[in-house]
């Protein structure tokens, strides 16, 4: 029969010769292999002290961005929710009061913004759809939890720290993304 690939190897079915029968040369060969492995570089990452490098295009947990004055960028246009193939995003819009101008950048803002992390597939389409640069996928891995309801992330979980009040936390949350 014609082989389907070129990677076919004929199995050697000749009876074993003397050296193969006493097994010792093969055992010694195996032992040199294991001995060599003792001096190889270990791929282990010492986790809590060191963390593995993430690629710059890594798509992790979402953050809701603020502008440089610390105002929320999101205007609750709903484009992210529309773009989301997993239908993980829910939001409710509200109108900004005159005394809230320092909190929200635009006249409309998201009063409620929720992402169901169990639904999210981390495709990054929300990030692409957003016209206001308000949502980003950060370099952080979504942490594990015990209950399903804790995976519905609200604005509290998602909002980036204020760049004016907490510049350090802001830079950390932003990561190397931008």
């Amino acid at each position: 029969m014609e082989a389907l690939t070129k990677n076919v190897m004929e199995v050697d079915r000749r009876p074993m010769n003397f050296w193969e029968k006493i097994y010792l040369p093969a055992i010694l060969k195996g032992m040199t292999i294991t001995f060599r492995h003792m001096f190889k570089k270990k791929p282990t990452v010492q986790y809590p002290e060191k963390t593995r490098y993430f690629s710059p295009v890594f798509r992790g947990m979402h953050i809701l961005n603020r502008d440089e004055e610390g105002r929320e960028r999101c205007t609750a246009c709903g484009l992210c929710a529309v773009a989301c193939p997993a239908e993980a995003i829910t939001m409710e819009a509200a109108e900004r009061k005159p005394d809230e101008a320092h909190l929200y950048r635009e006249e409309k803002y998201a009063a409620r913004y929720e992402i169901n992390m169990l639904r999210c597939i981390f495709c990054g389409l929300c990030e692409e759809a957003c016209p206001k640069d308000a949502i980003y996928l950060s370099q952080t891995v979504t942490p594990a939890d015990y209950a399903r309801k804790n995976f519905i992330y609200t604005k509290n979980d998602l909002l980036i720290p204020d760049p004016v009040k907490d510049p350090e936390g802001f830079a950390k949350a932003k990561g190397i993304h931008q």
């Binding site: 055992i27 492995h37 003792m38 190889k40």
Partner: protein, 349 residues
Amino acid sequence: MMFLLTIDWAFFLEKLILIAIVITLSLVIAMYATYAERKIAAFMQDRIGPNRAGPFGILQPLADGMKLFFKEEIIPNHSNRFLFIMGPALAMLTAMMTCAVIPWGNKVELFGRSIPLQIADINIGILYIFAVVSLGVYGIMIGGWASNNKFSLLAAMRGASQVISYELAMGISLIALLMLTGSLSLKTIVEQQMQAGHFWNIAYQPLGFLIFFICAMAECNRAPFDLPEAENELNMGYHQEYSSMKLGFYLFAEYINMFISSAVIVTLFFGGYDMPFVNETLLTPNMAALVGVIAFFAKIFIFIFIFMWIRWTLPRFRYDQLMNLGWKGLILLALANMLITAAIILYRM
């Protein structure tokens, strides 16, 4: 009261101290052998191994031992309580008893006394070791039987038949060596190898050494001969029903066995406490003893490493392969080796 005065109390004390030191030493070495085993296994598999408890994980054996002590002690209802407790005790006892006749070094001069670094230099040292080692299988057998569990019993049966099969070849390979040395005393065997112009016994008995080494591995129930405790076929084998420190004793006895059989191999074939390229007679007795002990332990550690190295290289034998190797391979080889040795000795006489 006269007979009390005739007892050499200093001799008594010196032996007691020596026993305490040897027992403690073999326990500590067995303890750190578990650590070495895990580290070597890890390194051979491109891992790092235990490194959290203390620097480089050096306290890991203590943590493991502590864990075993605090585990719940379970004695199954359907087991024979007396035998169930006796199993691990016997395994540990026989493992520890062997070290009585091993010469750890030459004499040391202390307080005007010449103290030999050997608990008992009996003239049938090897025979004693063989007797005790073959008792070791009772630990496995009794443990497997008392558990009243089919897997444990199967494993114990495997263990017993394996030890019987391999003891035969081991004994025959040793006869060839004893024909050369003409003595059963381990001390005499070592002293013969230390003589000028006389090489270590490995040079005269390479095949005998190979057979002895393979059989020693089988007697210790080490991989690739770890059929009695085949984790994935027999659910840990004969110690499946054991928990807490009783399990610890079984595991520990295995490491002590490994240490002792390394010591026996070194004594018989690798010159015991003979430091190569050093003439011990030129040194002061205490210096020579120190050098000897260091050399002896270095050789033992090399052998323990080889035991582990083989374990993490080779897969386990199938049962029929084990029996084939024992009965059709090693015994015949050992017999041939014995006959050839005997013929050469006769020819040279």
